[in-house]
Amino acid sequence: MNEQSKIAALNADSEPVAFNAALAEPFNVLIVGVGGQGVIMVSKVLAALAQAHGFEVKQSEVHGMAKRGGAVFSHVRFGQRVWSPTIAKGEADVLIALEWAEGLRWLPHLKRDTGVFICDTKRIVPPFACLNRKLGAKMRYSTETAEQVSAYVSEAYAIDATRMAEELGNDRAANVVLLGALSTVLEFSLPEWEKTVTSFVPKKTIAVNTAAFELGRNWIVEAKTATPADDAAAKAAPVHAHYSARLEITDAWCKSCEICVKLCPERCLTLNADRIATMTAPEKCTGCRLCEWLCPDFAIRVHLDTEAAVMEAAR
């Protein structure tokens, strides 16, 4: 079991939700992920199942921008009578996440006392997470730990669905692994699940998707009986010597070719009034040395001073 799978074992004990009470209050499932992961397919399967069961179903999602790697979410509500198509904060009975950070984003929507959280540990890091070019800067991606999550929700499963699907030879089946996991939480019969899932996947992929479904289902059953793994101390983040970058430009050697200006990734150089390369945004310079390497006349030297060296020089 990987590090995050521990949450599963930490708090997993409840029985499937019994629908026989006829669901006077609607049952709320929130399915979230990133564009292209198959969020909508999961919600369609669930909606079809609930409808076949005779419930009124509303399935609501906002797409459009979603395809292009943005956050995607779909609300599925079913019961005797469903009014609002959307699930209010703190009202979701189940939260299924196809991506780790998206799962965390929507956690506040889960019912605190009874909500079930099923989350793929897959991490899709958006380009936005890598914008801070400061030397030693960290990626802007969720840092919440499994412990924080398990302290918040009553029942949580972190499952390597994408890796499991990859091992089956089709990473696109990760959402079906999660459907398998979901099937242990909701009281629809296994044949109903299998029939509905197969009707929503391409014919050629029925075998791999059936396997994926089984995997997800069995994984939860196992996780429920497993004992919590020991808390391995979180991997200490590597420490990076703090550098500061400094440019030394020999004006007399610069022949105004503008190569450095055009190729500096941080766009921090310009030609001044005398058409000599000058540093205009020193705070942006990462010390990548491209200007030094590319200048045909060796007019630029880049110095990366470590903090210690800076202190030394000051002394």
Partner: protein, 607 residues
């Protein structure tokens, strides 16, 4: 499925079947059943799927087409109505701005074959440039607007709209919202009933809007509105649901389910039509309760109308005028109004959210265009499409974006106002055909010194990949004549026209420099298909030789989602890795890598 009510047309088809449909699918189904012969639209979220769906019904039953813009689409539908067929036109809210000119006059003319205009608003601005309330257009044009609250009603109201259209000699607007259009629920559907087409009505006093005719027609329109008020007062689509007498809620459309969710036992007047409003019914309802609230998204249209009757009414004091409603918003307003007790605070844990806006796809051909635009140091008038996403870091290639087709006109204005930087307008192929051509002619005519970059990705990508006149295919996928952009642009009077391959970064940079250097209007066509639609393009992924990567971050300036920081560091900077599942092999990153450490992944040995 709670409407105790049936559209008149529905009587004609009695075979009922239950289907899970989105609001848009339900509207398409209803239009088909109502015997629509001609349907036209220009794509726009959240309305796009209506025509896409109509295109799946038999071609013998109806002609469904993408038009070049919303005004053309409405004119096509109007033409079909003139010719005696039932016609449908669909658009997003801002599309109605484009089509408004035709709509205002057609409101005077009225219909021959029934005409229904579906307008999908976007409260909350999920995918638009604003959140205007289309009901104001109905008011302005003196037209009826129906507001369904779920997919079943979307189906029933659309059918009813055709009946109203023909009975009252009026175009009818059916207003949806993003939430309704994209929510799937069970709909009880019927069969198509063929409506025999009428013959062309040769009546210039009705069909030709010259001042003398228009003056007379305006009076007819006002009379028609009075009749519609009476009709809606008596119609079952105005639902008075009795309950607690201490207060009553007047609501319509998608707000109704939120009200019911929060107040299951309240007294509610659910209006099926939010214009024109049934005066007497409103008076009676308001008199029956102690306090009256109006719950409506966006503008206070119903609220103002009730207030104008001299009735004390509360609404926008408690329910916001901006953004989408939800059960939480409705509950919040009712708490503020003292109707509901404050809910216990959730005290929810809020994990630090990861910023995840939509981004250009890995390998998107727009990427290189905006690398070149950014490097050119120009002032950039942007436009609407996927490429608007280039406004975000790291591409940051756009200075302005107003509405479809605005870029070129904006650029002309900037040039004439003496903007010191060189000026570039960037515009997508579909947007160019939609509203860019008149602006380009304007630029030529007024001899503006601008460069236009036509981003030709061979599809209408932003809205999910619809065909247009440049793709050589119709809505149903049949072959169609294909626009020759270079010839078209030359015919507009542009002397400098050049096409480059978007995947050739150096050539794109070079050509853009030339276009900017050219004095006058220069058009550079950046040409490569979208990698997502109509077919998903996937070439062999590239790979970074980690030991060589100096972590200079040059490649990260592309904003390609397949590129990300690896766990390795180099001199305090993150080295880069490529996600092979996302990379489509466009080679742009390899082209910008100064170290030349990006290669095709484990490439097969070539002889």
């Amino acid at each position: 499925m709670h409407t105790p009510w049936q559209a008149a047309t529905a009587l004609k088809s009695d075979a009922k079947e239950l289907r899970p449909l989105t609001g848009n699918e339900a509207i398409a189904r209803a239009a088909w059943e109502a015997g629509v012969r001609v349907a036209a639209a220009y794509p726009g979220t959240p309305s796009t799927e209506i025509l896409e769906n109509l295109g799946t019904y038999p071609a013998e039953d109806l002609h469904a087409q993408w038009s070049t813009n919303e005004k053309v689409a409405l004119d096509v539908a109007i033409g079909a109505s003139f010719a005696g067929s039932r016609a449908l036109c669909a658009m997003k809210h801002v599309g109605l701005n484009v089509a408004a000119d035709a709509l205002m006059s057609f409101a005077y003319i009225g219909v021959n074959g029934g005409l229904v205009l579906i307008v999908c608003d976007d409260p909350g601005i999920h995918s638009s440039q604003n959140e205007q309330d289309s009901r104001i257009y109905a008011q302005l044009a003196t037209l009826p607007v129906l507001e369904p609250s779920d997919a079943q009603e979307a189906y029933e109201f659309t059918k009813l709209a055709f009946d109203i259209s023909e009975e009252f000699d009026t175009p009818v607007i059916v207003r949806s919202t993003t939430r309704l259009s994209h929510t799937r629920s069970t709909v009880s559907v019927g069969l198509r009933c063929e409506v025999p087409p009428r013959v062309f009505l040769e009546k210039p006093s009705k069909n030709v809007m010259i001042p003398a005719h228009a003056r007379a027609r305006h009076l007819v329109v006002l009379e028609r509105e009075a009749k519609l008020k009476e009709y809606f007062a008596a119609s079952a689509i105005s639902q008075w649901e009795a309950g607690d007498k201490s207060f009553g809620i007047v609501t319509a459309g998608t707000c109704y389910p939120y009200v019911r969710e929060v107040l299951p036992n309240a007294t509610v007047l659910k209006l099926g039509a939010s214009w024109p409003l049934p005066e007497q019914l409103l008076r009676d309802f308001c008199a029956s309760v102690e306090r009256v609230f109006v719950v409506e998204e966006l503008e206070p249209i119903i609220e103002k109308e009730i207030a104008s009757l001299g009735i004390k009414v509360e609404g926008k004091r408690f329910f916001p005028r901006a953004g989408e409603f939800s059960p939480e918003v409705v509950r919040g307003g009712l708490v503020q109004a003292g109707i509901l007790p404050a809910p216990p605070s959730l005290n929810a844990w809020v994990p630090e959210p990861v910023v995840r806006p939509p981004v250009l796809c890995a390998g998107c051909p727009h990427t290189s265009s905006f690398m070149a635009v950014r490097a050119s140091g120009a002032r950039v008038a942007g436009d609407i499409g996927c490429y608007t996403l280039a406004v975000l870091d790291p591409l940051r290639g756009i200075d302005t974006c107003v509405s479809m087709g605005s870029s070129i006109g904006n650029a002309v204005g900037m040039a004439k106002a003496g903007e010191p930087k060189p000026i570039v307008a960037t515009i997508g192929d579909s947007t160019f055909l939609h509203a860019g051509i008149p602006a380009l002619i304007d630029a030529v005519y007024n001899q503006a010194d601008i460069a236009v970059m036509l981003l030709d990705n061979h599809i209408t990508a932003m809205t999910g990949g619809q065909e247009h006149p440049g793709t050589g295919k119709t809505l149903r996928g049949d072959p169609a004549p294909q626009i020759n952009y270079e010839a078209l642009i030359r015919a507009c009077g542009v002397q400098w026209v050049k096409t480059v391959d978007s995947y050739d970064l150096a050539a794109t940079h070079q050509a853009l420099r030339e276009a900017i250097a050219y004095r006058g209007v220069a058009v550079l066509i950046s040409n490569r298909p979208c990698v997502l639609d109509p077919i998903k393009i996937k070439g062999p992924p590239l790979e970074i030789n980690a030991s060589e990567c100096t972590a200079c971050q040059s490649c990260m300036n592309l904003g390609c989602p397949a590129l990300t920081w690896s766990d390795e560091w180099f001199e305090g900077r993150h080295r880069i890795k490529i996600d092979p599942a996302l990379c489509i092999g466009c080679t742009l990153c390899a082209q910008v890598c100064t170290i030349d450490c990006i290669k095709i992944a484990s490439s097969p040995v070539t002889p």
